[in-house]
Symmetry: none
Subunit: 215 residues, 4 copies
């Protein structure tokens, strides 16, 4: 009985979250209305305020729902692999982050868009999560440079490039499908794309001497 009750509760909250992710992804946070979400979730609009404390609470819930496991994943990979080989660690990050994003493709797309705004909430999320994320990745690059695995490039630029490559397909899934005819939703896209990322990582290792020659 308790189980049923709990499951019912879960279902309502989850129905709302699912509908919210879908609508926020398609029309943006500001472009989606509580009523629309409730309708799509087949739920009373008042329940959204009841469960999440308002539309803003729903947004925060989703942001946490993304960044918490995201950072946990990142943390785990870095902790386990950085001492083995920084560049290999980078490859692992690339592959797992791509997988993670693909598994939460709508949430990812929406969160990445929302983080481009200039709001208190975004600033808070940046200082809470993106600072950590960036620290992890920079650490790996730095270690790679130290160990001579990686050419000596500014780690900030490397982070931008790396993140750009990883985020791009999930920020613009519709661009991929309608212009490039790629399906980021499908498994083999990530598989092939992550190999491409690995090539870029390899290039970090190899370019330096050549670069020096060029000079």
């Amino acid at each position: 009985m308790d189980c049923i009750t709990r499951r019912d509760k879960m279902e309502t909250k989850d129905k709302v979250l699912e509908a919210a992710v879908s609508l926020f992804n398609a029309k943006g946070y500001q472009g989606s209305s509580i009523r629309e979400i409730a309708k799509q979730a087949d739920v009373n609009p008042a329940l959204i305020s009841y469960y999440f404390g308002g539309k803003k609470g729903l947004l925060e819930n989703l942001l946490l729902q993304f960044y918490e496991p995201y950072l946990a994943l990142l943390n785990k990979i870095v902790e386990e692999q950085i001492s083995v080989s920084p560049l290999y660690c980078l490859k692992q990050i690339g592959q797992h982050i791509l997988n993670f994003q693909q598994q939460h493709i709508q949430l990812t797309s929406f969160v990445y868009r929302e983080m481009t705004l200039d709001s208190m909430l975004v600033r808070e999320m940046m200082s809470t999560y993106l600072k950590k994320e960036t620290y992890y990745i920079q650490q790996v690059f730095t270690k790679g440079i130290e160990l001579g695995e990686c050419m000596n490039i500014p780690t900030e630029h490397a982070v931008i490039q790396f993140k750009g490559m990883l985020m791009m397909p999930f920020l613009y899934p519709r661009y991929l499908s309608e212009v490039l005819y790629l399906q980021p939703v499908e498994g083999y896209f990530v598989e092939r794309y992550s190999r491409q990322i690995e090539q870029w990582i390899d290039s970090l290792q190899l370019l330096e001497p050549l670069q020096l020659q060029a000079k």
Copy 2:
């Protein structure tokens, strides 16, 4: 007098566009209200509907204002340089696009965010502009592969990587400044970052044989 009148008109329209770009950039299209824009532009709200045919018209105006010169620039570079050297052409594209984005940094940020939405308008812009843009870039990659300048990677993936690198700093200017302490607004950032992009382009040339060795 007619001249003054016309100049006033221009100024009013421009004041609105300027205010709109600023607010759309900070709070998003849906998050900014006509009244707010009008207030910031010190203009009567009714004039926005009058001049631009409504809020949506203002949005379309800004999207064109971005993509028309953007594509003209891209078109010019490709036409002029592709026959010389595809990879050099790519570098030129990278450098000029970065400059272009930096010169319209708020507009760029806003347009790139808006294009992540799933709307009729976005689909239209994609089929009108992004298809062309992608065609140009893919053409360069293809030519590069044909001429043996560039390793044989899927051009779609290359486009994603290339665009990702170029767009990233201007999609997340606040991330750059607050987390990475980079100032995409300042000249030397683009200068240094474009050299980084060139390294990536160089890596396309060099990786292939090594990649083959790896196999």
Copy 3:
């Protein structure tokens, strides 16, 4: 166990009533929400509907809780004292009503405010309680005039003045404390103020001949 249960019930009802009086007094009936009351009473909101048959029932309960003992008190005083001396009876009324109001200061304040509204409920309360109250007081004045104790003024006006004096401090307790620096909550205020009322009552007796002289 039954006893405990019943006591719990009593406590719950009383906790609600207490919280309701406090909130209704501060923010008005319409300005207070069931949830707020329930929260302050540390009780489930649904119980208010359950126990009192809704918010309106809670209001009626409180009105009765005020007017029933109020009228009983008035009735008792008039019955016992009117035959002795009408003016003395008036003084007794003044003193005891002041005391009664002070003992239920929040309830009094709230009820007196609520009775200024124009609603079915108020009309009902007026015809049920205020008619009786007024009848009692007018009777005393009439008797006083008959017996020559009191000057011949319109009893309606006398009632207004009398009630005005008695109600004023408890309708505006915050005015008294913040502007006049009087504390209607404290015992000696009523003590001193009731002597003031008695002076007014005395003046009823004395003024007439002098008034006539003045003319």
Copy 4:
């Protein structure tokens, strides 16, 4: 043309104010909805926020609309008459305030009710207006006592009694009409009631020696 425009504006604002006073008086501020007011004023609901900056602004507007002329009137009377004769000045106050209240009977009733609440706004109104009002009245009593015109009673109590008498009929107009069968709206009520107030004022003059005798 300008005149017509201004008159139209005035009419809309005034229609809203009129409807608001009527509804606030009958059902209270919290009990009246913006839509209801707009409907009764035959006006678009959005215009209330447009003109008054929201429901609260409407309330503040009405409170000022009452207290500003009220205090101006009081100030004028006191300034002109206090030096002549404090007790005569009191009578003038009584008469003019009664007239003022009668001329704005609904507004008066509503304002007096609203001032019984415990809110920031009420506190502000008290410290802005009621402090002044009380200062004026107390000044008159004090002067009367100084000059020997008036018996030596605590001025705070005198203020309560005085205000109680003046406010009572307009706080409970429905009580007057339905229980006492008096019509505070009609001219002769004020006329007769103000004579009653004058009697009370006279009693202040005369009671003291008798009071002493009683002791």
